[in-house]
């Protein structure tokens, strides 16, 4: 009966690694129908435009924070609850900031796909 063959549960990687051979050797010229192509073109442009701001923010953050540390060594001496502010800015601050950035970009990218 179809659908009742029993198979071993394995990790996705293992399953994919085992089935790799079957997937090979069937390259076809990619095709897109008219409306699909138009829509893909719009989405490509839109997502490309949306990608600029989060990447700029990301690199401003990971390149800017070291610059701040280098320019203001005094941050090592200011303490919050006994911990140097510069330590907190490196050990704690980046993670919520990155999570917010991820959430923001996720919403924008999904919205771009939802609108016609």
């Amino acid at each position: 009966m179809p659908g009742h063959k029993r198979i071993a549960v394995m990790s996705p990687q293992t399953r994919l690694a085992h089935s790799r051979r079957r997937a090979r050797g069937r390259w076809r010229v990619p095709k897109l129908d008219g409306p699909g192509a138009d829509r893909a073109l719009v989405l490509h442009r839109r997502q490309l435009r949306l990608a600029v701001a989060p990447l700029a923010l990301l690199f401003a953050g990971i390149l800017g924070l070291p610059l701040v540390f280098a320019l203001f060594p005094g941050l090592d001496d200011i303490r919050l609850l006994g911990i140097p502010v510069s330590w907190l800015a490196l050990a704690v601050l980046p993670y919520p900031a990155l999570a917010l950035l991820a959430g923001w970009q996720l919403r924008r990218a999904e919205k771009a796909e939802d609108t016609e």
Binding site: G3, H4, K5, R6, I7, A8, V9, M10, S11, P12, Q13, T14, L16, A17, H18, R21, A23, R24, W27, V29, P30, K31, L32, P35, G36, A37, R39, A40, L41, L43, H44, P54, L55, L58, I62, L63, P66, F69, A70, P73, D76, I83, S86, W87, A89, L90, A91, P94, Y95, P96, L98, A99, L101, A102, G103, Q105, L106, A109, E110, E113
Partner: protein, 562 residues
């Protein structure tokens, strides 16, 4: 004892899983429907579980002990990479249907030659990533059980190879997600216990670092490798395997070429690679490499394929940023406590064992042993999860892309690849896990990052362009790393750019790819091949699509009733 209680269960369970211990048998359709319904949150826990390797669990804290607070830039880079992944790669890569970068290269550019070149790059990245996993596993095993280093490496390597050869990871996504939760608990709970247990004086010392110049108590240091120490201008060769006793109050010798922990610059939140005295440039070089390298890591890319569509893949990347952020709040705690309690590890080059060495310093009774066992178990879970995924990808690249063997070929390749990694790891005891892993990121950033970014977003990319860019990035980055390994005598900013070549090798690869592509002409279908990656497939386009989706839904609800 610790070996028996912590490592044995983890290795045994992995082996049992390999021998279909939890290979719950289900019907094909059940299984396929279940795997198509993997939620992004579950999948991102699985991605994080796979991503948090020995370098994250042990390496970051070890580097903090040795190099200072600046080493906390490593986990920031490890997390930032998923933002780049989310923005540029996750959804289109999933839509391409490719499992690996070689697959992507063939799907997008239709070039078997490029497939083979990218497979070779996977070997370089996989090697650089696997060697530190095996090395650190061996180091931890030998540290907690007092066995020689090679025994630890061989046990770790055999465990992974046997598991994979016997049947691979027979664990569904939820098991890998559970792995992440396990690692998180085994890392966070001991950290909090340590913070509570240490004396107020230790907490005070941890926040006010001073150079490690005199031993606070009688200390015995075991040298697993020969080291040259220096004290008051006198050099002192310590032979391999020697154990040296230092009395309380003795002056601490210096390892030649490395500053003592806690000294000047240790408490600065910048990283000074190669002690070149350009901390800002060093930190920039590191963060760029990590942020751009993540998207090219072969074992991570493969994981995204379990998402049902591009949208879910993008969500997975976003959630991963949050989950990793929770874990990475804690390595710093082990690092600053380690500098106070176990700074002598710096002498024998074993700072990577700082995390597992800490509980015994705080409590000599059974709680100390218990927490050592918990941390060792967690470190092993981290090592196994990453190594299994990577070894599978490396073996897949060899047996499918480079040779063309079948499943049997894959199994033989796994054993051979593991043996090669064990041999390399035996030579690599001196190299810190964090540094080697960062080189893997650097090679990925210089090869796969431009290939994926331009392949996904630029329709004019040609096969020749992609090929020359990948080769230029590969030779530039691995050449610079080889120069560092063989100790090229350079100093200053040049030393940083050799030890951490990403700031010039990544632009070089991008430029080569763009310039060579512009001189050629892409095939007529290139534009369609690229645009296809941006079309969101979750929207039902044609009536036929809608019908198919409807039929699928009906089928799955029928299966549920059964």
């Amino acid at each position: 004892m610790i070996l028996a209680f912590a490592v044995a269960p983890v290795v045994l369970i992995t082996l049992l899983i390999g021998l279909r211990g939890v290979a719950a048998m289900r019907t094909t359709s059940d299984f396929l429907v279940a795997s198509r319904r993997v939620s992004p949150l579950l999948n991102s826990a699985a991605v994080s579980g796979e991503y948090l390797s020995a370098a994250s669990f042990l390496g970051v804290a070890g580097l903090v002990v040795k190099d200072g607070i600046g080493a906390l830039w490593y986990p920031v880079g490890f997390t930032a990479g998923y933002i780049a992944m989310l923005v540029l790669v996750a959804a289109p890569m999933r839509r391409s249907g490719a499992l690996t970068v070689p697959d992507f290269a063939e799907a997008r550019l239709a070039s078997p030659a490029l497939r083979r070149v990218t497979a070779a790059v996977i070997l370089v990245i996989g090697g650089l990533y696997l060697v530190p996993q095996f090395r650190t596993a061996g180091l931890v095993l030998s540290a907690v059980s007092n066995s020689p280093y090679w025994v630890g490496v061989v046990i770790a390597g055999s465990g992974v190879a046997i598991t994979l050869a016997l049947g691979g990871m027979r664990a569904a996504t939820y098991v890998q997600a559970f792995q992440f939760v396990l690692k998180l608990v085994l890392f966070i709970v001991p950290a909090i216990w340590l913070l509570i247990q240490v004396s107020p004086q230790t907490r005070e010392d941890a926040l006010n670092p001073v150079e490690f110049t005199r031993f606070a108590a009688d200390t015995s240091v075991e040298f697993r490798i020969g080291t040259t120490l220096e004290l008051n201008g006198e050099r002192w060769e310590v032979p391999q395997g020697a154990t040296v006793e230092f009395a309380a109050g003795d002056e601490v010798p210096q390892v030649v070429g490395e500053a003592r922990p806690g000294g000047e610059g240790w408490s600065r939140p910048l990283l000074d690679i190669a002690d070149a005295d350009h901390p800002l440039l060093s930190t920039w070089a590191l963060t760029v490499a990590l942020a751009l390298g993540t998207m090219g890591l072969p074992h991570v890319i493969m994981r995204f394929h379990t998402s049902p569509d591009g949208r879910a893949a993008r969500r997975t990347a976003a959630f991963t940023v949050g989950l990793l952020g929770i874990f990475y709040l804690f390595p710093g705690i082990y690092g600053v406590l380690g500098r106070v309690l176990v700074p002598q590890l710096y002498l024998s080059g074993a700072t990577d064992t700082a995390v597992v060495a800490l509980p015994a310093q705080v409590d000599t009774g059974w709680p100390g042993s218990l927490f050592t066992a918990l941390l060792t178990g967690g470190a092993f879970a981290a090592f196994l999860a990453t190594s299994l995924g990577l070894l599978l990808v490396v073996s897949g690249a060899i047996s499918y892309d480079l040779l063309s063997g079948g499943l049997r070929g894959l199994r033989v390749t796994v054993v051979v690849a593991a043996a090669v990694v064990v041999l390399l790891a035996l030579q690599a005891i001196r190299l810190d896990a964090g540094v080697l892993v960062t080189w893997a990121f650097t090679v990925a950033a210089s090869t796969f990052c431009p290939l994926l970014v331009l392949g996904i977003w630029w329709s004019r990319l040609t096969v020749t362009g992609a090929m020359s860019g990948v080769l230029a990035g590969l030779f530039a980055s691995s050449g610079a790393i080889a120069c560092t390994l063989f100790g090229l005598p350079v100093t200053g900013w040049l030393a940083i750019l050799i030890a951490q070549p990403a700031p010039w090798s990544v632009p070089l690869a991008f430029l080569t790819m763009v310039l060579v592509s512009l001189r050629g002409r892409p095939p007529t279908w290139a534009r369609t091949a690229m645009l296809r990656l941006h079309l969101n497939e979750d929207r039902e386009q044609t009536p036929a699509d809608r019908l198919r989706a409807l039929r699928e839904r009906a089928q799955s609800s029928q299966t549920n009733r059964n």
